[in-house]
Symmetry: C2
Subunit: 364 residues, 2 copies
């Protein structure tokens, strides 16, 4: 099979906050595309979305949408991805999916290119993009694990409203305005913390320690995603015991940019803070912002619109040698979603892996 020189690309879920950014990131990527098709649900068909200097007319997505497509970049929610990703693969397209549906499937690589691009070699037509809070986390954790080992990771997240979509952002802005006018915010909460859950609370000037629904043992689905996806990406196995991972996910009144306060225990008492900082700095697209003397540290407002992952406040636990604190910030809509999705496709092109293997589990 001869490598193609250019590709037909479809963006599934093109009208959403992440879908629009996928189109933007695709235009700025090194992926050589012949054509780009914008797909969404029936009720969005006919809408126009910006692409390069023009617009694309959105088409309704169905199982016949992929006949002439090489690469599908999907951000349309779990049930759509469940239904359409196998159809796309059967039609010969490779799918990079941003929903949570395929992430834990053993036949689906879960990829952050700077961390585990090699996992792409085994793809069977579907590649999953990790949860936003996981992606920026493994950018910093992986080099530490590779060089010094990691016994335990404890994460507290500070997650932006945009992680819950555009409606959540609008809700926080409306609540903020009400609060500034001295009006009641409670009536305005319809989406957060979780659209489909029973109760809704204002996030403006507040903190909501619930992201996604509650599951066993009092953990939220978001917290389990972070735990299992981190292990799958770094170790290749979500149940692996080599690294203990645990944490708490909290929604904060920020629009864009997740923060993470991360405690890592390498178990190696000889490791220094400078070695940890150098290991993390060696990762492509990680920017160290870490200078107390000049008050330099990652902030969501500084990360907005950037593809990089920013790491600072790197310092030792003064009573537990080998353990350290990190403060990680990244744009959850870019590295946490749209950019990582496009970056995976760009990597597939570079590695000449834009093809569905004949024995794919998804074509049977």
């Amino acid at each position: 099979m001869v490598a193609k020189n250019s590709y037909n690309v479809a963006v599934l879920g093109a009208t959403g906050a992440v879908g629009r950014r996928i189109l933007e990131q695709l235009a700025q990527s090194t992926i050589p595309f012949d054509s780009v098709k914008a797909l969404a649900s029936a009720h969005s068909a006919g809408q126009k979305v910006p692409f390069q200097d023009g617009e694309l007319v959105v088409e309704e997505a169905n199982e016949h949408s992929f006949d002439d497509v090489d690469i599908v970049l999907a951000s349309a929610g779990g049930s759509t991805s469940k239904a359409l990703a196998p159809a796309a693969v059967k039609a010969g397209a490779v799918v990079v999916d941003n929903s949570s549906y395929w992430r834990m499937n053993d036949q689906v690589p879960l990829v952050v290119p700077e961390v585990n691009a090699d996992a792409l070699k085994d793809h069977q037509g579907i590649i999953a993009n990790p949860n936003c809070s996981t992606t920026q986390l493994v950018m910093a954790l992986n080099p530490v694990f590779q060089q010094f080992g990691l016994e335990q990771v404890i994460i507290s997240t500070y997650q932006a409203a945009s992680g819950a979509g555009k409606a959540a952002m609008d809700e926080v802005l409306a609540e903020s305005q009400a609060r500034l006018l001295g009006e009641d915010m409670g009536e305005l909460a319809h989406v957060l913390p979780v659209k489909g859950d029973k109760k809704h609370f204002p996030l403006a000037f507040n903190l909501l320690p619930q992201i996604d629904v509650f599951e066993e043992e009092g953990y939220t689905h978001e917290e389990y995603k972070m735990i299992h996806e981190t292990k799958k990406i770094i170790l290749g196995d979500k149940n692996a015991k080599q690294i203990k991972v645990t944490g708490t996910a909290v929604r904060v009144p920020v629009m864009i940019g997740h923060g993470e306060s991360v405690y890592i225990d390498t178990g190696d008492e000889a490791v220094t803070t400078d070695q940890i900082r150098a290991a993390i700095a060696s990762v492509d697209n990680v920017v160290i912002q870490d200078d107390p003397a000049t008050q330099t540290y990652p902030q969501p407002l500084l990360a907005e619109g950037k593809r990089e992952t920013f790491v600072g406040r790197i310092r030792p636990d003064l009573e537990n040698p080998g353990a350290f604190h990190l403060w990680i910030v990244s744009d959850n809509l870019l590295k946490g979603a749209a950019w990582n999705t496009v970056e995976i496709a760009q990597e597939l092109v570079k590695m000449d892996l834009v093809r569905v293997p004949a024995d794919s589990a998804f074509t049977k």
Copy 2:
């Protein structure tokens, strides 16, 4: 000496955000007062502050202000407390001080009444009120330590703007308004993260991982306060090794109410989540808000104006038996400042300890 039936009280720093709340909490306390005097710096003298149904005229504080005073409730900053607290003690008054100046002094008890009221018995005229982030933390940690032990505590804070004073709150509101109007926020930052530091950044829709100035090893002064004060309150010794304490302090765009994501390792693999919850619930003025099925968990907006400390999201580390997560929220201006100060004085009255011992270190 016969116990007095009522007391003359002075509030030092009466015009500040905390000072005004001290007056409010004093009026609602069980302290039997004969007279209440409002004291502040020269430039605030003559101002009026609300008290009960009327007002108090603020007097300039100096070393002669305390001649007829039994109890001084001080929230006037470290340098004022350094200068005036010993003068008040020499005049025969007992001082409950909310600044950080006296907290680590070996001759000054650092007290949260629900945790270590017994430490009041050794007071020499000055009692210190802990830092806001410490107070709500030890309310939950102490019963766990007493019943099951504590090997390590790792804290990530989510601290409200009001912890930096009224000017910081006003700044965040002005920045929020600018952002809603699509204007630049950068020009409005003059106070946060730290008034006296070199750079200022917007906090609205942002996160600032700096509270107070940076010190050795990349930790902020706020982080060291949390570490040392927690040990002094629970163990009586800021350098005690029995409990390892470490953490990261982050300012969030909330007006009132600090959140804390806390990881505790008891070192006892047999301890259950129900036992941890019951231990914390047994503390006076702790309210457990912890029911995933009804989305019940502590939130700053629900804690505002309340004296209690709220604890939820209590759950086990699934890979490290004996370790647990907690999410703690309290009104940083009340339990974190004004109310704990008044509560200490109320406890001194109850324990009949409103007197300066003859051999006080502060009268020499």
